[in-house]
């Protein structure tokens, strides 16, 4: 039964993926058209040369042929080559992927790790001082711009700490240029951007865990557990938390796309060499094969993420019928 359900979901995802590639392709075509970076700026090129370069790149062919060629490449794992440096787009993406995953993965992990206990505590002492305080913190987390928070942290922990002769934290990059790259060095670079991003997840998810816990705690089986004389600890953590984690699984699943795009602004602020920074820098240079590649790659992850979340949820929760 689960197999058929998965098959149905996969089939439903295919038109969405095609739609994504069409929108991406058309958008980039409108943006860049037949533009090739640097071509118009080179005085040594005659009109004939330019036409030949365009033809070599396949830009003289009809639009649908260009699209189908590109799509065919993607289906074979070939995202084309960069217009700036001629490297493989997929290679660029995969080269940056570990950095991005290191940042967003840490943030999501830390987010869940902190948000779950906070949410549970809030739900148990609903309306208490701690609950109200956490509500305030999470509202702040919703309203504070990530890039501003990043700049403030740099201002305090990199600039001021250095001025005060305290051990300061690096403000940019994923590792030091000289003698860098060791685990401790990378960890130091990870602290500030990781903190900004996890604060965002903590403020979102702690609210979510709270409301889901409140709902679960009001259900009959919890009352039964109390009536059996179970300790508060057991009821909260063994019975209630297990069921409210279920909905968090979906939420984290929906955050899988955030693994790629969610950290873009933070990557730019901290010069973190991830996929977001790659897409941003190359977009400014009109390197549209790379922009198309990163966008499609990220969208693909969204679709797969949603699929995984659905399947995982159906598998964990027997109440879901496989339709």
């Amino acid at each position: 039964m689960l197999g058929r359900y998965v098959a149905r979901r996969v089939l439903a995802a295919i038109p969405v993926f095609l739609g994504v590639t069409i929108v991406t392709f058309l958008l980039m075509h409108l943006t860049a058209g037949n533009y090739v970076p640097g071509l118009a700026l080179n005085p040594d090129l005659t009109a004939k040369d330019i036409a030949r370069i365009r033809a070599n790149l396949g830009l003289d062919r009809p639009l649908y042929v260009q699209y189908l060629t590109w799509l065919g490449g993607i289906l074979h794992g070939d995202f084309g080559t960069s217009l700036i440096d001629g490297t493989s787009v997929l290679g660029d993406i995969l080269g940056r992927l570990p950095n991005t995953l290191e940042l967003t993965g840490t943030a999501i992990f830390m987010g869940a790790l902190v948000a779950i206990p906070l949410g549970v505590v809030s739900a148990r002492r609903r309306g208490g001082a701690l609950d109200n305080f956490l509500t305030l913190v999470s509202t702040v987390g919703f309203a504070v711009p990530q890039f501003w928070l990043g700049l403030l942290l740099i201002l305090i922990f990199s600039v001021q700490f250095e001025a005060w002769h305290l051990p300061w934290l690096p403000s940019s990059g994923a590792y030091s240029a000289f003698n860098g790259g060791g685990p401790l060095d990378r960890l130091q670079h990870l602290i500030l951007p990781g903190a900004v991003l996890s604060f965002f997840y903590i403020s979102q998810w702690s609210r979510f865990v709270r409301s889901s816990m409140v709902e679960v705690l009001s259900q009959d089986y919890i009352r039964t557990a109390w009536a059996k004389g179970m300790s508060e600890r057991r009821v909260t953590y063994l019975h209630a938390l297990r069921n409210s984690i279920l909905s968090l699984v979906t939420l984290v699943g929906l955050e899988i796309p955030g693994l790629i795009g969610g950290g873009l602004v933070v990557e730019v602020v901290f010069g973190w060499p991830g996929i977001g920074l790659l897409a941003y820098q190359r977009a400014l240079q009109y390197d549209y094969t790379v922009v198309m590649g990163t966008t499609t790659f990220a969208a693909l992850l969204v679709i797969v993420g949603n699929l995984l979340a659905d399947v995982l949820y159906a598998w964990l929760d027997p109440r879901i019928r496989y339709r």
Binding site: T31, P145, V159, G258, A279, A283, A299, I303
Partner: protein, 305 residues
């Protein structure tokens, strides 16, 4: 049901006794609930104040004596909390205070405009999909899925480079993704409303599709729209500020809080106020709109009744 409370018929002999609460409309009840929420009133007050500041920006300029673009290279990087530049000046000697005042126009303008566009388009699509069902629903919802599948920031970057936005284009860019969420919301609401008896009754009286949608479905979807719109403004202001910060939104020299921040990045080692004040403005604005939005949700959302 929304719009009317059930009249209780009085038994004979009990007439004249005042124990039935006079019927109150849904809107009045919601409004009273909102008014009782003091935090909401305070947050709403802040939003209103910012809106007045934004609208009256050219008037505020008069007592300050500086324009938002007026440079004074002999007085750049002036520190804050001193006359005549109460919030300091930037690298070109432009007054930070008046630039923040004019920045409010950009942020609030985009926030409200985007919500308006996204809500209008999303409602139309959601109503059509939910009402007509079948293949109309299938096609429209697959399109919605496509737009929701994009990590929005990548789309924004692509489109921003394409259009080099001003206020209107930036709103359109953000709304081009935002409508999809509204459409999904309105559709699911329409699906439940469609099966209600009053819809069948109205239809059997000969009402056409358009009339059913506009006169009978739309008013009942309205509460949810108000909730989603008031919660959306803050998030949109954040997105717009982030795009400005990335240099992909409102272009200099037009003052916007996001672009002031990205500008300040270069100088904030010696002039931290250039970073602190614009960010604070974004934070306060988004906080106030979010708190107000939460209160509106608590007061208006029929699902929370």
């Amino acid at each position: 049901m929304i719009g009317s409370s059930p009249e209780i018929e009085l038994e004979e002999g009990l007439e004249g006794r005042e124990f039935v609460r006079p019927p109150e409309s849904y809107w009045r009840q919601s409004w009273v609930r909102l008014r009782e929420n003091r935090l909401a009133l305070a947050a709403g007050g802040v939003v209103l104040f910012l809106a007045v500041v934004a609208i009256a920006a050219p008037l505020i300029q008069i007592p300050i004596h500086y324009g938002p673009l007026q440079q004074d290279l002999t007085d750049n990087f002036a520190p804050p909390f001193k006359a005549p530049h109460w919030l300091g000046t930037d690298e070109l000697g432009r007054d930070v205070l008046i630039r923040l005042v004019f920045g409010a126009r950009v942020s609030l303008g985009i926030g409200f405009l985007t919500v308006l566009i996204a809500t209008t388009v999303g409602t139309a699509v959601g109503l059509a999909a939910g009402y007509y069902g079948r293949w109309t629903d299938e096609v429209l919802m697959r399109i919605v899925d496509v737009f929701l599948a994009f990590p929005a920031i990548f789309l924004f970057i692509g489109m921003s480079i394409l259009f080099r936005p001003g206020t209107l284009t930036l709103s359109l860019i953000i709304a081009s993704v935002g409508w999809a969420g509204v459409a999904r919301l309105v559709r699911s609401e329409t699906l439940t409303l469609k099966t209600r008896d009053y819809m069948l009754a109205t239809r059997s009286l000969g009402a056409r599709d358009l009339r059913l949608m506009v006169r009978h479905l739309l008013p009942n979807v309205l509460p949810i729209l108000i909730v989603s719109a008031s919660l959306g403004v803050g998030q949109i202001i954040l997105i717009a500020a982030a795009l400005d910060f990335l240099g992909l939104g409102i272009q200099p020299p037009t003052p916007s809080w996001g672009s002031m921040l990205s500008n300040a990045q270069t100088y904030f080692y010696h002039s931290p106020w250039l970073v602190i004040f614009p960010g604070l403005m974004i934070f306060i604005t988004v906080l106030a709109t979010t708190l107000f939005g939460n209160a509106v949700r608590d007061a208006f959302d029929p699902r929370l009744r």
